[in-house]
Symmetry: C2
Subunit: 195 residues, 2 copies
């Protein structure tokens, strides 16, 4: 793997867990076995690195979502929800920092969120569109497609990433508990969506 790619990967992990402000270029370089000047050779500033990392994260996230879009009937809203949940939970296991980064980037007043949102605009529009049709035909419960989509997003991302809240409730995060969470989430969403 190229050095540039290694930097992006390691930075994504660090930004997504420790946060951007909590990650210094020196610490990042140490983790990579380099000097920070080598990082600044590939990315002209920390801000530029962050934007590249965000782009990388968007690419990976979109690539995952595309697998759902491709394999699932766009008219079957419930199958789309199931697929999305599967994808998000797979990321929660395999690359939790990616979800952490999305969370960080979508912090209120973040300003970098626009960058992400423009990348995801197509997916959002498509999802909203098929949701609207399903609503009109009565195949899904609800009034406003956009707000419903937003509720779905909040629920799925929250259940997948809020592990500390779960710990506060006495559930130690594990693969087992993650699977249970996912099952309960699917049940919850099914009741809420399917008439």
């Amino acid at each position: 793997m190229s050095t540039q790619q290694r930097i992006l990967d390691t930075a994504l992990d660090s930004f997504g867990t420790t946060g951007v402000d909590g990650t210094s270029l020196d610490a990042l370089a140490r983790e990579l076995g380099l000097r920070k000047q080598s990082i600044l050779y590939y990315f002209k500033s920390k801000q530029a690195l962050f934007e590249a990392v965000l782009d990388e994260a968007a690419n990976q996230f979109i690539a995952e979502l595309d697998q759902v879009v491709e394999r699932v009937d766009p008219n079957d809203v419930w199958a789309q929800v199931e697929g999305t949940v599967r994808v998000v939970f797979r990321l929660a296991v395999q690359r939790p920092a990616l979800l952490g980064l999305l969370r960080e980037a979508s912090r209120p007043g973040s300003m970098v969120a626009v960058q992400l949102s423009s990348r995801l605009a197509n997916h959002i529009d498509a999802a909203q569109h098929s949701l609207e049709i399903a609503l009109k035909e009565g195949r899904v419960r609800g009034d406003d497609a956009r707000l419903l989509l937003f509720s779905l997003y909040s629920t799925i991302m929250g259940v997948a990433t809020e592990v500390e809240v779960l710990r506060a409730m006495g559930v130690e995060p594990s693969l087992r508990s993650l699977a249970e969470r996912r099952q309960e989430l699917l049940r919850f969403l099914h009741v809420a969506l399917v008439p």
Copy 2:
């Protein structure tokens, strides 16, 4: 208001919006019209300040939740959900930084989350308990009270705080849109919960 209280309040706002790492003692002092040494007079370190702020946030959050508990029939789960939604959305308007701080503190791997969780343990237990009874009596849909509570929490907090995602979907945050979001959220939760 005492200087100590002013420091706590301002720090809560700053920590909750800019983040802890993103808030320097100098910047905080500037905002207060003081020198940072005055802050360190009341709180012996930044970490100590953060913990005090977290405690303050927990106090305020608990005080709000208590109003729900007091005024609502503990057996009426739906009324409790409604009350909680009302409280959280009121905070989203009046003190968004408080919710931002909770979000920051509940970041995966945060370690400070234990402090919060011990403060909220009573409320969590009580909620879980009445949810269990309601489940057993078939007044609420679902299997596992704890996981259901977790789904509810994720949905409510997400819908109340993920304003950047909403913006990405083309909805400019405003009081009006907040009210719509709340209404849609209540509809969504009602369908999901009440048989």
